[in-house]
Point group: C2
Chain length 106, copies 2
């Protein structure tokens, strides 16, 4: 594998890794509906604010979400809505796996 391919795949993996966490998936799905501030997301997730803030910064640095200060709050919004389409493939995989499981039992 040459260096160029390596770098390309590193960049790709970094973006995908940013989404490879249940809490961050929740954030993306929630922001897909409409923007939310950190305090709202924290309440929905039920974790420490600092934890949520770090998850948000991971998604922001990956370029998947965007932040905007307004008043005393920071509002986050989904910058790359195409990731939602990305997820439908994942659901397909999950469904296929479940069907495979069924076949073994029968």
């Amino acid at each position: 594998m040459d260096t160029k391919t390596q770098n390309r795949l590193d960049a790709k993996a970094r973006i995908i890794k940013a989404m490879a966490h249940p809490t961050r998936l929740f954030i993306v799905e929630t922001l897909a509906k409409h923007e939310h501030c950190v305090c709202e997301l924290t309440a929905l997730i039920g974790a420490d604010v600092s934890t949520v803030s770090k998850h948000l910064s991971i998604l922001r640095e990956a370029g998947i979400i965007d932040d905007e200060k307004r008043g005393s709050s920071v509002y986050y919004q989904l910058k790359m809505p195409c990731v939602m389409g990305f997820f439908s493939c994942v659901d397909t995989v999950i469904k296929a796996n479940a069907q495979g499981q069924l076949k073994c039992v029968r």
Copy 2:
């Protein structure tokens, strides 16, 4: 976040995590062209066979690739081609990030 959502997102994250690694992305992209045995993939990747084998088993357990023994080799193939569409969104994100970088420099 209720338990049902939690479980759903855990399953989703597990699939995505399986792809969140440069070597595993390389494997998926390579298998998208056509099937390959472990030894071929190992030669292309340039890592230890055991390392490649473990990456393959991670992708297999996620249900993304399939294996088939034939002769003395094990051939792997892409079971879920929709992940390739999934990747095009990631490329879009990378391109958008690069464009954002440019704007800062200018």
